[in-house]
């Protein structure tokens, strides 16, 4: 357990220690991204294989499919490895297609900025910088370093174009979803923490006053009070008991550390203790 937390800490220190995307939504995003990457790769590799009969594309397809399968299978128990496999399933085909130039590399370039955005949301800013630098290096090589002629394949380019739009929609959707979840989660957390702090401060102040009153309520004084005014004495004891009970109840609410503790106080105010 401790070892796992240390590994997580190291991983998060390198790849962003304050993720924008929550664990739950990251898991869902990894599943859909993996599926999407696998499908797109499958269609592209099969199409080129049918045209060129080059077995390299089948091998690429097998590699990519296994990466995607590993990514999806390990996304809950080992999210770090899941992200690693997803990165492989994206970068290996991109490198392969750029080196082989089986279609216009410009259509691949159009995905690069979106990969940067996705890597930021899934892994954090340092990962986005690393991946962006890697992609820029690749683009530089494909633009200036490679002598391979650029060929056209309208089907694949159209597929990449619409995949790009679909991925953009996915990012937009997940970001909006995440913002809403994040806001509500943060709001509840802040509410509970603040309430606890307020309650503690107030408890200290009120306790000192109650303590002073108790010091003055000696047995002798209470006995005299009872003998002089029995009704007043009973009313006072009842009222003082109610004061202590109400204060104890309010203060004990914050000690339970429940997320919706403010609602309990609200219900108490409304007179509904259940």
């Amino acid at each position: 357990m401790e070892r796992e937390s240390i590994q997580n800490f190291r991983f998060q220190s390198v790849f962003g220690n304050d993720l924008f995307m929550s664990e739950k939504y990251r898991s869902i995003a990894l599943f859909y991204l993996g599926l999407f990457v696998g499908l797109v790769n499958f269609v592209i590799a099969i199409d080129i294989f049918l045209e060129s009969s080059d077995e390299a594309y089948i091998r690429l397809l097998l590699f990519t499919t296994s990466f995607v399968a590993c990514c999806i299978a390990s996304r809950k128990r080992y999210p770090q490895w899941s992200v690693f496999f997803l990165a492989l399933s994206v970068f290996v085909p991109i490198c392969f297609y750029l080196f082989h130039s089986s279609f216009s590399y410009i259509s691949l370039f159009s995905i690069f900025p979106l990969i940067g955005v996705c890597s930021y949301f899934i892994l954090g800013r340092p990962a986005a910088v690393l991946f962006s630098l890697f992609l820029i290096g690749l683009a530089y090589y494909a633009t200036f370093g490679s002598d391979l002629p650029s060929s056209d394949n309208i089907f694949i380019e159209t597929l990449i174009y619409y995949s790009l739009l679909l991925l953009t929609f996915g990012v937009v959707f997940f970001v909006n979803l995440q913002i809403k979840v994040y806001e509500s989660k943060y709001y509840r957390k802040q509410e509970a923490v603040k309430l606890e702090s307020l309650s503690k401060t107030h408890k200290e102040q009120v306790d000192s006053i109650i303590r002073e009153i108790r010091c003055d309520l000696t047995d002798q004084y209470l006995a005299d009070f009872k003998s002089r005014s029995p009704k007043g004495y009973e009313a006072f004891i009842r009222a003082f008991g109610r004061i202590e009970q109400a204060l104890d109840e309010i203060h004990s609410l914050s000690e339970r550390e429940e997320p919706l503790v403010d609602q309990k106080i609200y219900r108490l105010w409304e007179g509904d203790d259940t």
Partner: protein, 244 residues
């Protein structure tokens, strides 16, 4: 638009408008000096330049920040589509700028605004095909694919832009944290002390009345101290309740 998004839009405007102004000046200069491109290519740059200048002026003079919406609309809905139609194909490096811009637009103006552009770009290949197939694109709009250097630097620009959005999102998150903390504090205090006041003040009043029924001399120090402490307790809860 939510309060948070307005605040982040205000901060974004200070960054986006000057940068777009500088970039549009630079590209206009390049187009005039080297490319000798079609006039409509330069027209959208002039339009972006004018909007950016107007936005900066509006921001500092009238403290308004509406121009980013107009800028994004012109960039995505007019400038990019005009250029893609001019190139005659959607397989262009210009497309690299579209997804990050749509993500930013959705962030600042909501998901519906982004979906509107996504729908438009879904239709773009068909529009381009129809326009080029039936030769409906005027000669003045036609221009060739940019050279390799332009492709690379355009891609680097789009990558930098996508990385810049991480600052926008981080800023937004911090803004939410601060704003919600303040809101949470005010609401919690009000609710908490209203409850406290109600639950405690009634018995305090009863206790004070009961003590006053005591026929002992008012100069009794114990009774006076108890009364004073009860009054202090009552006063404190009333102060918290905001009645004083």
């Amino acid at each position: 638009m939510s309060h948070f998004r307005k605040l982040i839009l205000k901060q974004c405007s200070v960054v986006i408008l000057p940068i777009s102004f500088c970039i549009s000046i630079f590209l206009s200069y390049v187009n005039w000096k080297y490319t000798k491109g079609p006039i409509l290519l330069a027209l959208d740059l002039y339009l972006i330049m004018a909007i950016s200048f107007f936005g900066i002026f509006e921001y500092f003079k009238y403290k308004r920040y509406r121009s980013v919406l107009l800028l994004i609309t012109v960039f995505l809905g007019l400038s990019q589509i005009n250029r893609l139609i001019g190139v005659g194909e959607f397989n262009s490096i210009l497309i690299a700028w579209v997804p990050p811009t749509i993500v930013l637009a959705s962030f600042l103006y909501g998901i519906r605004y982004a979906i509107m552009f996504l729908g438009l770009y879904m239709l773009l290949p068909i529009i381009i095909y129809l326009l080029t197939h039936y030769s409906l694109v005027p000669e003045i709009m036609k221009f060739v694919q940019p050279p390799k250097q332009s492709v690379f630097f355009s891609l680097v620009g789009a990558m930098v832009l996508s990385f810049g959005y991480s600052f926008v999102f981080e800023g937004y998150r911090k803004l939410i944290q601060v704003a919600i903390k303040k809101q949470s504090q005010v609401e919690t205090e009000e609710r908490f002390f209203a409850t406290l006041s109600h639950e405690v003040n009634n018995p305090i009043t009863i206790a004070i009345l009961a003590l006053n029924q005591d026929s002992l001399d008012d100069d009794d120090p114990s009774k006076n101290r108890i009364l004073a402490n009860l009054m202090e307790l009552s006063k404190r809860s009333q102060q918290y309740d905001g009645r004083d």
